[in-house]
């Protein structure tokens, strides 16, 4: 006879109790995170509690879901292996959050260590204020740490997460670029069945270094993908990210970017393509701490069915951060009358010489454009697809790496075909 699977906060906490002797890293940090998680719970899971940072997104379905308690991940022979992209570049593959050496080809110019071997929780993550970070800090078993040395251009690296049904995993990643280093990281998340992928990523970009971070979240339709990323950018450094969300049932893409040195730049761009009853929440906090930094956020949503898109963007400009240039734009294309977009921009400005703006647009497909295309002989479904891709073109065109952009376009195409089916 099998015992009933414990779900929710209690399920995660009892898993921690069973695993804690074996978990790598500082046990005090684990315990503190467990305390924080016990206090905070999962946002939206308890009735009557509503946090501002989770105004539009409830993780109640995550609390209600059952996850397998096995520690050893399932590998090999799985259909998800076919989802590995055919891109000629080194790749680090994790299966259910655990590094898989057989599927990986390690990069020559990036120093790679496993969290399981050298556990470090970093300096930016805040388990006390972010419940998912508390959950991750409590249960992280593995993850990758990537470091690029001074002046090295490491080219393209793939970080792939393959997931299997029933898994709940909380990988802990760290990326460090030393002075003048460059890296393009393609992060791809795919899987089969219902599972929870709850990564925490910490990024440090040193002076004159540049990280291009392209994230393709194409998880299984029954999955939960809840990611939290912290980035710190030094003088004249660049953290340039683009996240494409097409998969999963509930998605949270939370990014905290801190511009710490003069003339730093960050782009937190994204596109969310949602259908059915998908829910994807794109939440960003950009902190302009040093003067003369630039931040750009353009997030485009294409929403079909009863899907709900959320954009919460906050720009904080410190008193010292004069000559800040901040821009935020959220655009939504609603393909169905039941789709919904919620937008909450926030500007908090303490400096007096800054340029900060934000905007939002919501619309449907343009009837004149649609008729124009059809009057030229292009069938209705194809015409709609052309207009959706045109809406996304500006965002995708900003991805410079050709093979990576092609992979994103393929994901957009796949999404469209699923909607049409």
């Amino acid at each position: 006879m099998t015992a009933p699977v414990q779900t929710g906060i209690g399920g995660f906490l009892s898993r921690f109790e069973r695993l804690r002797e074996r978990l790598p890293g500082d046990p005090r940090q684990r315990l503190a995170a467990a305390d924080a998680f016990r206090r905070a719970g999962l946002p939206g899971a308890a009735a009557g509690r509503r946090e501002e940072a989770w105004k539009y997104t409830s993780l109640r379905p995550v609390a209600d879901a059952e996850f397998q308690q096995s520690v050893t991940p399932l590998t090999s022979g799985s259909a998800v292996l076919e989802r590995l992209p055919r891109i000629d570049a080194p790749r680090i593959v994790l299966v259910d959050g655990v590094f898989d050496p057989a599927l990986s080809t390690l990069p020559a110019s990036v120093t790679f260590t496993r969290f399981a071997d050298q556990p470090a929780f970093g300096t930016l993550a805040r388990p006390n204020s972010e419940p998912l970070v508390a959950l991750n800090t409590m249960l992280a078993e593995d993850g990758v740490s990537l470091a690029v040395s001074e002046g090295v251009d490491a080219g393209l690296l793939l970080l792939v997460s393959l997931a299997t049904n029933g898994a709940a995993f909380h990988p802990r990643h760290a990326i460090q670029l030393a002075q003048g280093a460059r890296l393009t990281l393609l992060e791809l998340s795919v899987g089969d069945g219902a599972y929870l992928h709850n990564p925490v990523i910490e990024v440090h970009v040193a002076e004159h270094a540049a990280l291009t971070h392209v994230r393709l979240q194409n998880e299984s339709p029954d999955a939960f993908h809840l990611s939290t990323l912290y980035a710190e950018v030094a003088e004249r450094g660049t953290y340039d990210s683009f996240a494409l969300n097409v998969g999963a049932r509930i998605v949270r893409t939370e990014v905290h970017a801190r511009l710490d040195g003069e003339k730093g730049t960050t782009h937190l761009n994204g596109a969310q393509l949602l259908g059915g009853s998908q829910h994807a929440d794109f939440t960003t906090v950009v902190q302009h701490v040093a003067p003369s930094c630039t931040s750009r956020q353009t997030v485009k949503n294409v929403l079909a069915g009863r899907a709900q898109g959320v954009f919460q963007g906050r720009i904080e400009v410190a008193r010292e951060a004069q000559k800040t240039d901040g821009y935020q734009m959220n655009q939504a294309l609603l393909l169905s009358p039941d789709a919904e977009i919620d937008t909450k921009p926030e500007l908090e400005i303490f400096a007096d010489d800054v340029k900060c703006s934000h905007g939002a647009t919501v619309g449907e497909l343009d009837a004149d454009q649609l008729f124009y295309l059809r009057s030229r002989g292009i069938p209705d479904a194809e015409a709609r697809s052309i207009l959706v891709r045109a809406f996304l073109a500006e965002a995708l065109d900003a991805v410079a790496h050709e093979q990576v952009r092609a992979l994103l376009e393929q994901a957009v195409e796949g999404w469209w075909e699923r909607q049409a089916a």
Binding site: L373, R374, P379, I386
Partner: protein, 249 residues
């Protein structure tokens, strides 16, 4: 052959076309002239399938096809082409890829083989050259940042590439200078032949000096009030619409 019988149409319950009878035999070019608000553009939209107009009566067939029962893309594949009075801008859609998609969609629906990118570009470049248009027209986004004249020329380029059997030109001359007007007229005249018919909708007689029609029809109050040869356009120019409408009443 285009045959329109008793065609009536309304927008938001307001009747605009009130029983149009018109036949354009294969190989002929007919002009439709009329004052503002007479229903000229409505006729163009109804024939090409824009769905914000409600057809309230009558029929329209083209080479035996019941046009009014067809989707806009089906009409296009059957050979109907509308040159828009106000061509639509498509940001994020390249002109060449738009044209190739359109051409291949039409070819596919007719059971013809599709053109690959190289074959298409060869054809498109030849047509741009023939119409004295700059090559970069193909590289730009559809009509985005085009001047009024460039937009109209782009309509003619599309027509040249898609090779329709029935072209409906909705005030293609409006906003054109004389050089652009000549280019547009040449585009139409080069397509003329036994397989090509056109309905040239215009406010002014000027365009008809360059595209000489076989027949001219005057549309007023949603009805054709007079039909005649090319000389009718000159009569209209001399008298003005008001007098002709009064005579017909």
């Amino acid at each position: 052959m285009l045959e329109i019988r008793g065609l009536s149409a309304a927008i938001d319950d307001k009747p605009i076309l009130q029983g149009i009878d018109l036949t354009v035999p294969q190989g002929e070019v007919h002009a439709i002239m009329g004052p503002n608000g007479s229903g000229k553009s409505t006729l163009a939209y109804v024939l090409s399938g824009r769905d914000d107009y409600a057809v309230t009566g009558g029929t329209a067939t083209f080479n035996g096809h019941d046009l009014l029962a067809m989707e806009p893309e089906e009409r296009a594949a059957a050979g109907v082409f509308l040159a828009f009075q106000y061509p639509v801008e498509l940001p994020g859609v390249g002109n060449a890829s738009f044209l190739r998609t359109a051409l291949n969609a039409q070819r596919r629906s007719r059971g013809e083989s599709e053109l690959d990118a190289v074959q298409f570009l060869k054809l498109a470049r030849a047509e741009t050259k023939r119409l004295a248009m700059p090559d970069d027209m193909l590289r730009r986004n559809v009509n985005v940042g085009f001047s009024g004249g460039e937009k109209k020329r782009n309509e003619v380029l599309q027509m040249a590439i898609l090779r329709p059997k029935l072209a409906i030109l909705d005030e293609t001359d409006s906003g054109l200078d004389i050089d652009a007007l000549k280019i547009v007229a040449r585009g139409v005249n080069e397509l003329r032949g036994p397989e090509f018919s056109a309905l040239v909708i215009t406010h002014y007689q000027r365009l008809l000096d360059h595209i000489v029609p076989d027949r001219v029809h005057v549309l007023a109050g949603g009805r054709i009030i007079r039909s005649g040869g090319p000389e009718l356009a000159h009569e209209l120019e001399a008298k003005g619409y008001a007098e002709m409408v009064a005579e017909a009443a």
